[in-house]
């Protein structure tokens, strides 16, 4: 109760914030080494943004007189990074405190109708650290069960209204076939069977909607809300992202994609390198990391840091996600995506491919390349000015623009560091 009142108070403030952000703003970032990703790098290039969008990128761009100029001489300029596997916005503490709005109860492991973004807190304290790592868009994903629900792509602008931060919702359906207990099944084969039933039943539901409404169909594996949510998946308009690591699981993802002609994305993909050619031929993208080489379970015996590079070499569309393990790469350390990309380079991926794998590749995989992931005119003004190579530890994201606005609101961590930079003689007097 208290919480909902707080939220409506925030909504009021949001209206005012929105009004402010609609004012025309023109920003020109000049002189930097620009990596548009959608095209070749430009030394001493200009990125021009107006009203939140990128309007021009190049060497000889006319800069309007009213533009705010940002000198990026000696800096690197890239699109804001896209982290395609996060739980940002659904809780401020990973464990043992506060709500987490990630997992629906569903029915028999299926929660396809769950729209996780309805619980997205646009003011989460986890957003600023991510942005400080140059991450400006995230796939905000549900988790748990066999079919966890629908994920959204969200810009980390810090704007209050959900409508101002959503890039695409739903962006993908999230499922997993590797954790039997969570999927409420006894074996992977049963999970795969359930998934197939859900797809078949959705097709039947689409054919016989009116019969369904009159309760004249056989029972389906999921209720109406879930079947409705599956329609765009079955029609091939929305990808089905399936968490799968073991080669045998990945094989079944490819079979599902082929049998039903649906778009699938493999998330995790620890052993994907063993099937790289088949995955490439099936045109199934893989979201994987570059920092895990531990046979942490019998399903991930083939984990290796070269996975992403080997897949890319075989022609697979690869997006990089955090997978070092243990350090909460999906929440507090969403910001570390750039280091994951750097490690991918250390283990064989080309630098250009690694940058693409944390920008345009995930945007293409989830059908938002016209909005984020590159510095192409017409896309959102999500731009990062780096002090140097974005993958290096010695570099930092000096200025981060989301939807054309520079955002420099400090994180909680910044405030703490500042407070304790000089040990206070009298702590109590500190503000």
């Amino acid at each position: 109760m208290k919480r909902s009142m707080h939220r409506s108070a925030l909504a009021l403030v949001a209206v005012c914030a929105m009004a402010g952000s609609l004012r025309a703003q023109t920003v020109a970032i000049t002189g930097g080494k620009v990596y548009p990703v959608s095209g070749p790098p430009i030394e001493g290039g200009t990125v021009l943004m107006r009203d939140g969008k990128i309007v021009a990128v190049g060497k000889d761009i006319a800069i309007p007189a009213n533009a705010e100029r940002v000198d990026a001489t000696g800096k690197w300029v890239t699109p804001g990074l896209v982290n395609s596997n996060t739980s940002v916005g659904f809780g401020d503490v990973g464990f043992s405190g506060g709500p987490r709005e990630l997992s629906a109860k569903g029915h028999d492991g299926i929660a396809a109708g769950f729209q996780v973004w309805l619980g997205f807190n646009t003011q989460s304290t986890m957003i600023a650290p991510a942005r400080e790592g140059g991450v400006t868009s995230v796939v905000a994903s549900p988790s748990g069960g066999l079919v966890a629900g629908q994920a959204a792509i969200v810009d980390l602008s810090g704007a209050l209204p959900l409508s101002e931060v959503l890039v695409k919702a739903p962006a993908t359906m999230i499922a997993q076939i590797e954790d039997n207990e969570s999927a409420k099944v006894g074996a992977a084969g049963e999970a795969i069977g359930q998934l197939r039933d859900l797809i078949e039943d959705t097709k039947a539901y689409m054919r016989r909607k009116s019969d369904f409404e009159r309760a004249q169909t056989r029972p389906f594996v999921a209720p109406r809300r879930d079947l409705e949510a599956m329609i765009p998946v079955v029609e091939g308009r929305e990808p089905l992202t399936i968490i799968a690591d073991q080669a045998a699981e990945i094989r079944e993802v490819l079979n599902i994609a082929k049998d039903y002609g649906i778009k699938t994305v493999i998330l995790g993909g620890a052993e994907a390198w063993t099937l790289a050619d088949r995955i490439a031929a099936a045109k199934v993208p893989v979201l994987t990391g570059a920092m895990n080489n531990i046979p942490g379970s019998f399903a991930t015996l083939g984990s290796r840091q070269e996975n992403a590079a080997m897949l890319r070499k075989a022609g697979v569309q690869v997006g990089i996600i955090g997978n070092a393990g243990g350090g909460d790469e999906e929440l507090f350390n969403v910001r570390n995506l750039r280091y994951e990309a750097g490690n991918a380079v250390a283990y064989g991926m080309s630098w250009d491919d690694a940058l693409r794998a944390v920008t345009l590749a995930p945007a293409e995989i989830y059908g938002v390349a016209d909005r984020v992931g590159s510095l192409k005119p017409g896309t959102e003004g999500n731009v990062v000015i780096w002090s140097g190579d974005p993958f290096e530890f010695s570099s930092r994201a000096e200025q981060v623009f989301v939807r054309g606005r520079k955002i420099d609101a400090p994180s909680r961590q910044d405030l703490l560091a500042k407070r304790y930079q000089k040990l206070p003689p009298n702590y109590e007097s500190q503000k």
Binding site: M291, I294, P295, G302, N323, A346, S394
Partner: protein, 484 residues
């Protein structure tokens, strides 16, 4: 993906510390060996295993250095952790020791000479917070041997009795430049048990990995974990319950220590009953075992320091001290190391205030920063963790040189294990635990190329025959090309 979930769950409990191995150094009483022989003479009723003897070593190290070749690495940047880097320097490893470090060395005629152009040499990296072997991969329940979570005080367990030497995580750690590990019990308990210090080497037995002469550690844990685990199992249920639990145990331990010290001095009369739990705690009170205390919050660390004062022992390092920066002055005053992550935080309430500048702020206050992992993946890249710490310092105006940061990974953890006279820096006479890196170890693109332990080349990225595969790896873990 599965591994991510597993590791995250594990980290909740896997965090705390103690360390161990066994010290030949004489205690205030007498050495274990001489006491043993007296025991058999003087005691008519008890076998020596029933006697509580300071610095006893019932599971002695059988580690022997692997065969080594005299090796010279030259034309290389050397981060010694004992002074400024040597550009275009050279280092000579002979008979398992570092013989010479400098601008140049005279290469003996039998030496293998490695040209290190563009490369870097550092001491072997030391991770003082590991659960390798006790939480091995794959993470199945059958091998989940890190937490004796049956009651809050289990100082009687020893991590080495859970270590599985065939844990495939060991060679992966070595490939990350890690040469010494402290393996600790988990953090479910107020007193989790004894740690063990290991050389990261292939061995059929844990004894064959034990660092000769290393002291044991005792893992203690503050905060959320013990009270969560025991809240509905008889307590502690609160932080005040935690503190009562530590103090109660120390009171008993002190009584035990007095009783045994008296008997060991005279061997008169019937010996007191041996108690493995109190013996470990008594060894802490005698200074023979080092305390490694899992503790996130500044206020709790300050309370643990008071408890240490109350009972007259020393805390060697706080592990997971995400709030160490808040009491860096106190840590400096008490000479307690801060073993920390670069950027873990926010994953539970007591980790909420983790900041990346922690390492730099602790360093700036003159206290000892130690980079630790608590994680089999992070452990492979402690150099990258330190690199984050350098940059975080820079962002708030604290300039940490790479020569300083290398100490966070080497000599500082060596100090916390009281092994700094043997390892942790590249100085003549020290163990030849050495890493050759492909470039600056604080770059994301750099990898460990070669790793020597006691002068023996145990890892070579360019030579698959010099890449250790555990028994588990065979047949289970595929190589490129599909062979297993």
């Amino acid at each position: 993906m599965r591994i991510v979930v597993f590791a995250a769950a594990l980290s909740v409990l896997a965090c705390a510390s103690a360390k161990g191995s066994q010290a030949p150094a004489p205690s205030p009483m007498q050495s274990g060996d001489s006491t043993h022989s007296q025991d058999s003479r003087d005691s008519t009723t008890a076998g020596r295993g029933a006697l509580s003897v300071p610095n006893a070593d019932p599971f002695p190290s059988t580690y022997k250095p692997f065969p080594s070749k005299t090796t010279v690495i030259r034309n290389v940047t050397i981060m010694t952790a004992a002074g400024p880097s040597i550009k275009n320097g050279a280092i000579l490893l002979r008979n398992g020791k570092i013989e010479t470090v400098g601008a140049s060395v005279n290469a003996p005629s039998d030496a293998t000479v490695i040209d290190g152009a563009g490369k870097f040499v550092t001491p072997g990296i030391i991770d003082i917070h590991s659960h390798l072997g006790v939480y091995p991969a794959p993470g199945v329940e059958a091998n989940s041997d890190g937490n004796e979570a049956v009651k809050p005080v289990t100082a009687y367990v020893w991590a080495e009795h859970s270590v599985w030497p065939q844990d495939p995580q060991f060679p992966r750690n070595l490939a990350g430049g890690i040469t010494t590990l402290q393996v600790l019990p988990g953090s479910a308990n107020l007193f989790g048990g004894r740690s063990v210090v290991l050389k990261v080497v292939p061995s059929r037995t844990v004894q064959g990995m034990k660092f000769p002469g290393a002291k044991y550690g005792l893992k203690m844990a503050c905060g959320e974990n013990p009270k969560r685990v025991y809240g509905n199992k008889g307590g502690p249920q609160t932080r005040m319950g935690n503190v009562a639990g530590y103090r109660t145990a120390w009171i008993e331990a002190e009584q035990y220590r007095r009783k045994w010290d008296k008997w060991n001095a005279t061997h008169k009369g019937d010996p007191p009953a041996r108690d493995l739990n109190l013996e470990t705690l008594a060894e802490v009170l005698r200074g023979n075992i080092l305390v490694h205390n899992h503790c996130y919050r500044a206020d709790e660390m300050a309370q643990m320091i008071d408890i240490a004062h109350e009972f007259g022992y020393k805390i060697k390092a706080f592990h997971h001290g995400v709030e160490a920066y808040k009491i860096a002055d106190l840590l400096k005053k008490e000479d307690i190391g801060a073993a920390v992550w670069a950027d873990w935080g926010g994953f539970k309430m007591e980790a909420l205030d983790g900041i990346r500048a922690n390492m730099a702020l602790v360093n700036q206050a003159g206290a000892r920063t130690i980079v630790h992992s608590d994680d089999p993946s992070g452990s492979q890249r402690l150099n990258q963790e330190a690199a984050k710490g350098i940059e975080a310092g820079k962002e708030i105006g604290i300039d940490i040189s790479e020569d300083q940061a290398i100490k966070w990974l080497t000599i500082n953890p060596a100090w916390a294990l009281e092994l700094d006279s043997k390892i942790g820096s590249l100085e003549p006479g020290k163990d030849a635990d050495v890493v050759l890196w492909s470039g600056d170890p604080f770059s994301v693109y750099t990898r460990a190329e070669k790793v020597w332990i006691d002068g023996a080349l145990l890892y070579d990225r360019d030579d698959p025959s010099e890449q250790w595969r555990t028994d588990f790896d065979l047949g289970f873990v595929p190589l490129v090309g599909g062979a297993k």
